[in-house]
């Protein structure tokens, strides 16, 4: 045996199949019990609260059972998580609440162009498995900055890595708490802020005692909950509308229905060619550059985000790290292939149940969302049939029925609207919300731990893996975990940008900052420390610059950095009249730009939206590392030998040999 570890006393991965089966059976029983109680007339508020509290209590209990005081267990789960479960936990980290709520909504709203998220979230695992995960496992590092410090000679590279890791992870963690707050507040009827703090507390409770080992176990459970919660409504709706319980196949009918209905709506005057963008037609909401830019950002970000990379540190072997990435892709695939079906059923439901109906014929689900400000008809929140009728009386060309251009639904509302529209029982709707919560917690746990681990290991101890006393390091990680989780929750309560924008920015920062240095460090012996440090700073800096300028200082972007208006993808016309906006003193003085500023996120270079902000930074990072490395002296021979050795699975972890 290559790497002998003493058997842990309460290792959840000693018999993972039994533990996982027990959880699945228990959770299924719990949901069935609640479904029975709904039949008996238990009020909805009780059902929702019971489901949420029961599920959260189970997660916390799993985290508590997996507690540990050993550094190897705490930081890398003792290298004992089998590939399948490691992959499942990794999938739990990727399918964040932003995917669960945001991608579902975006797919419904944008049609084809929303599929950038599906492609980007799945294809990244190919890069991860081929380029990065196996050699990282062979190195035997504890954190991503550890890898950089080893490969690029010490503290400066480590610190640059820490900055990129903290920046990208913090943005993502904020998005998770924000999403968890939205979902839990709606389901439990709590104030948004309280819901955010509950999410934060659960993340800390799950992870603080058991570190990576507890995180791995809870993420597996959270994946089970989220996939079940997503699968159930879409299978039921598929069965109801097409008679086939396999949504992946059945929604071909829904797709055909959407196309037919769109043609019909145009003919009946329920939609105008100018406002209705066909669901199946590519590049109507994003130009090809922005579509493929976003795809590349999501893919390279998946292969460079530390909370996903740290999953390659926990497997027993190098080969398991490789197959774990394949398993992750399998579990992520299950979700992301379902998401377009979910969205298509929602789209078809809106086309048939809302568009072309009189206000009096609308379903009550719609008014519930209207009260939360998530659905507006004719420019006003749709709180009741009367309110809708009143609002539409004044609309131009209104003929008594709702037209496509009158109806606006928030992306966040689609997830719960779909099962409600189909008239599914309340337990199913509550279960979907609990699934979203589980997705938020799984991703948030991973992110919080990636940051806490790096604060303890790279900032506090600044040591490569060694058998130094474990207590101070674990204590530092526990304190760090509480601090980062609380800080991100505090930012989330201020309701920053929308979910998917935060996610896209985080992926962009990781892509431009870490991806070139990791790939070249692993595959190119000649890459030097100076090259890597400058490359990381340049790539990360350019991505950050692009986000900040286009979003918050677009005036400066236009005046000093040669930015121009983005183009409308269908007509090619500029989205905003830059010259007129700049001439307006009020807009020019609006620094940093408010949400009302017409220039905000509407300017850029070559028509590149800031959703793909990492795109210019990626080639810049590669070029700088390449150029500077070639000018400088080659790295020492023994380091070059270690780089080669990281590609041969057999033998001890490279970092351990060097100690």
């Amino acid at each position: 045996m290559v790497f002998r570890i003493p058997v842990a006393d309460r290792d959840p991965f000693a018999s993972p199949g039994r533990a996982c089966g027990l959880f699945v059976a228990g959770f299924a029983g719990f949901v069935l019990l609640l479904a029975g109680l709904e039949r008996l007339g238990l009020p909805e508020s009780w059902l929702g609260s019971l489901l949420v509290l029961g599920t959260l209590a189970a997660f916390v209990a799993i985290g508590f059972l997996a507690r540990t005081t050993r550094a190897l267990d705490y930081f890398v789960a003792g290298h004992r998580v089998p590939a399948l479960y490691n992959g499942m936990a990794g999938a739990g980290s990727v399918i964040s609440v932003a995917s669960f709520v945001g991608v579902t909504g975006t797919l419904m709203l944008l049609g084809y162009d929303g599929l950038a998220w599906v492609l980007g979230s799945t294809g990244g695992f190919v890069l991860l498995a081929i380029l990065i995960a196996p050699p990282l496992r062979k190195l035997g590092a504890y954190t991503v900055p550890d890898v950089l410090a080893f490969r690029y000679g010490g503290t400066p590279a480590r610190l640059v890595g820490v900055v990129v890791l903290l920046a990208s992870s913090f943005l993502l963690l904020t998005a998770q708490f924000y999403g968890a707050g939205l979902v839990a507040a709606r389901l439990l009827g709590l104030p948004f802020e309280a819901a955010v703090w509950i999410g934060c507390a659960v993340v800390v409770l799950c992870t603080v005692l058991g570190g990576m080992r507890a995180l791995s176990a809870t993420q597996v459970a959270q994946y089970v909950v989220l996939i079940a919660a997503y699968l159930l409504p879409v299978v039921l709706v598929s069965l109801k509308t097409t008679g086939l319980p396999i949504p992946e196949l059945a929604y071909g009918k829904a797709i055909a229905g959407i196309a037919a209905r769109e043609a019909q709506m145009l003919k009946d005057g329920l939609a105008t060619a100018a406002t209705l963008k066909p669901y199946l037609q590519p590049f109507t909401h994003m130009t090809p550059l922005n579509f493929f830019g976003l795809v590349l950002c999501l893919m390279t970000g998946t292969a460079a985000l530390p909370h996903l990379l740290m999953r390659s540190f926990t497997t027993p072997t190098v080969r398991a790290a490789r197959s774990s990435a394949a398993w992750s892709l399998f579990f992520v695939f299950l979700f992301f292939v379902l998401a377009p079906a979910y969205a298509a059923f929602a789209r078809l439901g809106i086309y048939t149940d809302v568009i072309g109906k009189a206000p009096g014929a609308l379903g009550s689900w719609l008014f519930g969302l209207g009260e939360m400000g998530l659905v507006s008809i004719c420019g006003r929140d749709a709180v009741s049939a009367q309110a809708v009728a009143d609002a539409c009386q004044g609309a131009a060309g209104y003929s008594g029925v709702i037209r496509a251009q009158d109806f606006v639904i928030g992306a966040d509302a689609v997830l719960t609207a779909m099962p409600a529209m189909a008239g599914l029982p309340f337990v199913v709707i509550a279960l979907v919300a609990v699934g979203a919560l589980a997705a938020a917690l799984a991703a948030a746990g991973g992110l919080a731990f990636a940051m806490a681990g790096t604060l303890a290991h790279d900032v506090y101890c600044r040591s490569v893996v060694s058998d130094a006393p474990a207590e101070p390091r674990i204590l530092a990680a526990r304190i760090g975990l509480v601090l980062v989780a609380a800080a991100a929750a505090a930012v989330a309560t201020m309701r920053p940008a929308d979910l998917l924008t935060l996610v896209a920015w985080a992926f962009s920062l990781a892509m431009a900052g870490l991806f070139p240095a990791l790939v070249l460090g692993i595959w190119w012996r000649r890459a030097t420390s100076l090259g890597a440090i400058l490359g990381m700073v340049a790539g990360f800096g350019l991505a950050l610059f692009y986000i900040l300028v286009t979003r918050y200082f677009p005036q400066a972007g236009v005046a000093h950095f040669g930015m121009t208006a983005l183009a409308d993808p269908t007509t090619g016309a500029p989205l905003v009249d830059v010259a007129r906006a700049m001439a307006d003193a009020k807009i020019a003085a609006d620094i940093p730009a408010q949400a009302t500023n017409p220039l905000q996120s509407k300017v850029g270079w070559f028509g590149l939206s800031n959703l793909a902000a990492g795109l210019p930074g990626l080639p810049l990072g590669f070029l700088v590392i390449w150029g500077v490395s070639l000018i400088g002296r080659a790295p020492p021979r023994d380091l070059q030998a270690s780089v080669m050795e990281s590609h041969t699975p057999r033998g001890h972890p490279v970092l351990l040999q060097r100690d």
Binding site: L119, F330, M644
Partner: protein
């Protein structure tokens, strides 16, 4: 545990095969991730299972191909490691 071969000849062969496998799969990845979808407006004129083909490739086709590709990659790389005697011992 058999000691790994130290002859640089064996290492070179392993490295060469590993990098060319990497190149092959990166090419496949690039094709499924980008090239296919650039053709989406054209592919949409063909229908499979009731889906326009361009739309189908982006919702299910490409993710499925990524998955199959990775399963293949894991097997191929394992074989390369074994044949160069650098694979890990079976547990």
């Amino acid at each position: 545990m058999a000691s790994p071969p130290t002859a640089s000849q064996g290492d070179d062969a392993h490295w060469r095969r590993t990098t060319s496998l990497m190149g092959l799969h990166l090419g496949l990845w690039f094709f499924f991730a980008f090239v296919v979808h650039m053709l989406a407006p054209v592919l949409n004129k063909v229908a499979v299972f009731g889906f326009p083909l361009g739309f189908y490739m982006a919702t299910q086709g490409a993710p499925l191909l990524f998955l199959l590709q990775l399963i293949l990659f894991v097997r191929q790389q394992r074989r390369i490691d074994r044949e160069a005697c650098v694979a890990e011992d079976e547990f």
